[in-house]
């Protein structure tokens, strides 16, 4: 079942790639069909998943027996929400890209290939397999940015590729070192048996190696510089996937590898992580304030929001970890939606300069309303999904006996800043006299509304009923907190 979920999009990608190069219709229908079926499979999986029941649907066979490399996959409370996010956002991204007319076959096959990597990362339970999928993500994203991106696309794509490759090769050294000291690549065995046996000094080094791999992806200040470039230059749908899913791979890595496998080192690093998280939150928000490009503003807001996830992780408490997972999931929905809305605005106005846009509400009320909704959700308003994660992360960090309260206090300033820059942006873009640039622009089409509708529904639903998300996340968070001894 899991194998099918991971590799079904690969079949789709192959089919797309073989379609005639300049056919507009076929590739998008094929991509939509494959991603829809994949989403349906994930939903089926979620319905048959027993929350709190540990790892399920496990599959395993020997791949390279001489080196104890296995092909093994399973799903648990940490992977399931992220897997769902990956399937949902890919499907929506395909629909959002309906109007792509430059090499559509190539575009949609890259999109589906990206999904193979993303699904695989969240399901792989063997380090080598994990690394395979981790690297697989780079290639389609490189092409998506470099082929369909903005004016500086080649530079941004290269920067994205090299930065994340830089992080992941250190992760590879970490994997190798871990293997040499334990004799296994099996992530389950490493979590359950080896976490307490590794000597503390070695754990410290391993934590550093994995930190480099994951922190680039999250991204944590000061390793975030690839993100604004990549987000701004990427085409709309790729931005949504980049912010919605790829960043979560970093958080996932911390929760899957760094914390459960290296708990002793985590306590040595905890403080450092918390300070970096705080800086990311405040720095991201402060820089977002200064942006004149609305897409860049959203990009920096991602740095800030992912900082909350890192703060929750750094707390080491069940609430904080649950919060980190909630932030990840909800930011996936909200940032995905923000990028899609910004893309819709850009499609019409052909500019993203905040100073040139104004009065969207007068000219295209639907788009303005949805953009405002996403912005408000991003602020963390109670009743919407963004609130839960940030609240829990801050609460967990406050409760954590290991973190100074001033860090949490400073981080919570980020919430205020976040509300401020979003409101300011809305005031300038949504309200006011319609600018001449958008004078004749039509409002959102039905397709464009339907693309974000599922996101709106989920943001509201999770905001009202936290348990929808937390019943998956909570058991995992408690278990992890117990391992960490908090």
């Amino acid at each position: 079942m899991l194998t099918l979920i991971v590799f079904l999009p690969l079949v789709g990608a192959a089919v797309c790639a073989l379609l005639p190069k300049n056919n507009l219709q076929w590739p998008r229908w094929v991509a939509a069909a494959f991603s829809a079926v994949d989403l349906a499979l994930v939903v089926w999986l979620a319905l048959h998943f027993v929350p709190g029941g540990g790892r399920q649907f496990a599959e395993s066979f020997a791949w390279v027996p001489s080196a104890q490399i296995n092909y093994s996959m399973s799903v648990d409370g940490l992977s399931l929400p992220l897997l769902f996010l990956s399937a949902l956002l890919t499907f929506l991204a395909v629909i959002a890209s309906w109007k792509i007319d430059k090499k559509p076959a190539f575009y949609f096959s890259m999109m589906l290939l990206l999904q193979v990597g993303m699904n695989g990362v969240f399901l792989a339970m063997d380090f080598v397999l994990f690394y395979v999928f981790w690297e697989l993500v780079l290639v389609p994203m490189y092409f998506l940015i470099a082929q369909w991106g903005g004016p500086r696309r080649e530079y941004a794509a290269m920067k994205f590729f090299l930065y994340t490759l830089f992080g992941s090769v250190f992760m590879l050294v970490g994997i190798v070192t871990l293997f040499l000291n334990t004799g296994t690549f099996d992530m389950v065995v490493l979590t359950t048996r080896w976490s307490t046996l590794l000597p503390a000094g070695l754990q410290w080094w391993l934590f550093l190696l994995f930190f480099l791999g994951f922190a680039v992806k999250v991204p944590i200040w000061p390793l975030h510089t690839w993100l604004p470039d990549a987000h701004v230059e990427a085409p709309t749908a790729a931005s949504a996937l980049l912010a919605g899913v790829l960043l979560k791979m970093g958080v996932y890595g911390f929760l899957r590898v760094s914390l459960p496998m290296l708990p002793n080192a985590f306590h040595q690093w905890q403080w450092f992580l918390a300070v970096l998280a705080m800086i990311s939150i405040v720095y991201g928000a402060a820089v977002a304030f200064a942006q004149t490009d609305i897409k860049k503003l959203v990009a920096y807001s991602s740095v800030s929001h992912m900082g909350f996830a890192m703060l929750g992780i750094a707390s080491g408490t069940a609430i904080g970890i649950g919060g980190a997972m909630a932030v990840s999931f909800s930011h996936g929905l909200i940032a995905g939606m923000l990028f899609l809305m910004v893309g819709q605005v850009y499609d019409r106005a052909h500019t993203r300069e905040i100073s040139q846009l104004s009065g969207l509400a007068g000219q295209m009320p639907m788009i303005a309303g949805l953009l405002a909704f996403a912005s408000i959700a991003s602020m963390g308003l109670p009743g919407l999904s963004g609130f839960i994660g940030e609240f829990m992360s801050l609460l967990g960090a406050w409760q954590s006996p290991d973190l100074a309260h001033w860090i949490v206090f400073a981080a919570s300033m980020g919430v205020l800043l976040g509300a401020a820059y979003m409101l300011w942006m809305m005031q300038r873009v949504v309200l006011g006299q319609p600018s001449y640039i958008i004078a004749d622009c039509p409002d959102a089409s039905l397709r464009e509304v339907l693309v974000v509708a599922p996101l709106v529904v989920m943001i509201v639903a999770i905001g009202l009923d936290w348990d929808l998300l937390l019943r998956y996340a909570d058991p995992f968070a408690r278990l992890l907190a117990k391992t960490l001894g908090a």
Binding site: A67, L136, L162, L165, V169, F170, T177, F179
Partner: protein, 457 residues
Amino acid sequence: MAGYSILIPEFLLVVGALLALFAELLPGGDRGAAWLGAILTLAAALVAVLPATANAQPFGGLIVLDGPARFARVVVLLLGAAWMLWTAGRGEGRVREAVSLAMFSLVGCMLMAEARELITLLVSVELATIPAYVLIGYRRGDTKSLEAAIKYFLMSILTTLVMLYGFSFVYGLSGSTRYDSIDLTRAGALGVVAVMLALVGMFAKLTAAPFHYWAPDAYAGSSPWTVAFVSTVPKVAGAVAMVRFVSAVSASAATTGIVLAVVAGVSMLLGNLAALTQTDMRRLMAYSGVAHSGYLLIGVAALSRLGFVAAVAYSMAYAFPSMAIMLIAAEEGPQLSDFNGLAQRRPATAWGLVLLLLSLVGVPPMIGFFGKLNLLLAGQRAGLITLVVIAVVMSVVSAGYYMRIVRAMFFAEAPSSARGQKPSFVAAFAFAMCVAITLVAGLAAGSVYGSIGAFLH
């Protein structure tokens, strides 16, 4: 006579090499010669994978057919077959001598990987490299090509002599040229000198820094078609020969290990950094070859069975992509800018190249990833942390120049008059063969490493 039967692949090639010279008597002329060579080489590869020859030691043990030898034999035969198939598909000019020379060189390479005795090794090294001199200078009318050939010839002769000088000391100190009776334990400093001299020769054959400087010039002077052969096939055999020699003289292990580690580190740094700025594909791949020799030497420097196996396997991860890339350069033109817009003209080829380049970077699931993974494992286990860190950082640097090729293919404007003509089906098949091997060897990495197995040094 039993000994001769396991040399059937070698005999097949010698027959082919002699027949190819009489191309005018063959159907199809020069093209027929290339076809004959390709078919005989493929047949030889088929014979070579037969398990019947496992661990045989014919001729009183002068040569051995153990795991690494059998592996190298199949790899060089497949590389040679791909090269000759491409030549046959291309079907232009007078190639009969080239085919013949390549087949002789292949025989030398196979024997080089099998040799476990110094004189046998020396003779097979000569048999492998002398045809290469001629191949480099194959275009007689081209003065640059001749200059390259002279450079290559002089450097090669010099390093062979240095190696021979080292061999003479080894013989003098241990009274034997056979690996199983070489004993340098009581030789002291002189033993170290002897091993160093021999190693210098081998470093030069592998184009490891700082003995690499002749390679970029020599390659840049000759045609990409030649470079495809000369820069890949002998290196596979050289890797096995080096591993065999190092494990035979492991008595002076400490110093040998340090020297190997230093050369590995310098090669990775110099090769990758120098490749960054190249605009000529031949020079770029020459420096990339230096870098990959560096990675490979991590495994040798680890001085462990794990490391030796990893080094031998890595030669394959380097050779197939490099061969395929140079063959495309032979079709499209030797400059990086000749690759501009290749994705427009030949999308399948461009995607194949992406796969090969990613394999060279070390991106899974191609063989390049498993090659590097095993080298890192071996290096880490031997405590060569510095080398491991250099290797991973330099992998990122290497992505910088390999991705430049990808960028040229996908995002650069095609020149108005693209030089490449439509390649024939057979030439495309040779390229596809390299791509398929790179991918399948990665997915089946378990059997690749299993087949190399144990060493009889």
